[in-house]
Symmetry: C2
Subunit: 205 residues, 2 copies
Amino acid sequence: MIDDTTAHLPTGDALLTDAVFQGARTVGRFVDDSVPDALLRAVHDTVRWGPTAANSGPLRLLVVRSREARERLAVHMDEHNRERVLGAPVTLVVAADTDFHRHLPTLAPHAPTMGERLAGVPDVRAAMARDNAWLQTGYLVVGLRAVGLGVGPMTGMDAAGVDAEFFAGTGWHALAVLNVGWPDGEGTDRPRAPRLAWDEVAREV
Amino acid sequence: MIDDTTAHLPTGDALLTDAVFQGARTVGRFVDDSVPDALLRAVHDTVRWGPTAANSGPLRLLVVRSREARERLAVHMDEHNRERVLGAPVTLVVAADTDFHRHLPTLAPHAPTMGERLAGVPDVRAAMARDNAWLQTGYLVVGLRAVGLGVGPMTGMDAAGVDAEFFAGTGWHALAVLNVGWPDGEGTDRPRAPRLAWDEVAREV
């Protein structure tokens, strides 16, 4: 599956423009092929190298595949998102781990006291976890699309309900849900919406 | 500069692994070449197509080039980050625009009432702006690295001070500062820090 799918992908600049950014759409319609666990691992092995503050890397993933797990997740989604969770080849719950500081002795050997300092400031950790897990979600979307997968990100859900359902007793907090699979055609019938231009988002000082 | 720099970049899978993720480092040491405005625009023209919630696209950028502007920014950075801001070829202040909803009639024609609904809930807007601007910062780091630029992201600063200095009277709020330029060698002398493995960050339910 990995070789078959990536063989026809564009390369070089076109990889980013065609497969990842301009040419990619938010996908709601998938073909009926499963997404191998090995491919998700391979994508993670690539995107995990993206930079985060203090190399905190707080992104966590819940992989939802079974019918039972989909149903447990779907009840916490906004109504219009339920069928999407029930129908996607695989669904990832993207979460931020507020206990990421426990890994800092390994991840940030250049800052040996940071884990201890963060242990006493849960509010700082919560904000740092959320910000950096969203940053890593950007890397993840890029990595999934770069191997030809389609991604349908959704935030319309009761995130506290998802946390209680799956993450009780952990520091994980749900940020978003990504439906993932091989797109059926463009994966959507909705016309491409515009984006703001450089002069609307940037100014020089 | 654009052609010279991208000509030797890897292509295909290697673009992501070598130039963007595994092979790239957080850069603190740059060669003394300037980064053309046209290249920053070209990167933005690519990465702006990345998905955000409701196509809100709240990321905003302040481009800091002049000595005077660098000094105004540097005083709000943590002490160990000041020289980096003063010395980088170009520095981008990455911000989230809490007034992003004003653009939704253009950006989200599929949800014609969303802009109005968000106008009344500034707290919801603030969280949505922050989350999605961080997500877009992930796309931006990828896009900058993909054209061969080095990026040195920093969050050690008085963000409220930066807001007061540059963004008074706007809905922009500083999230991070990216030093950007052509890396001098690897751009750093620090050994590569490890990352968590799939089995440490993901579980299946």
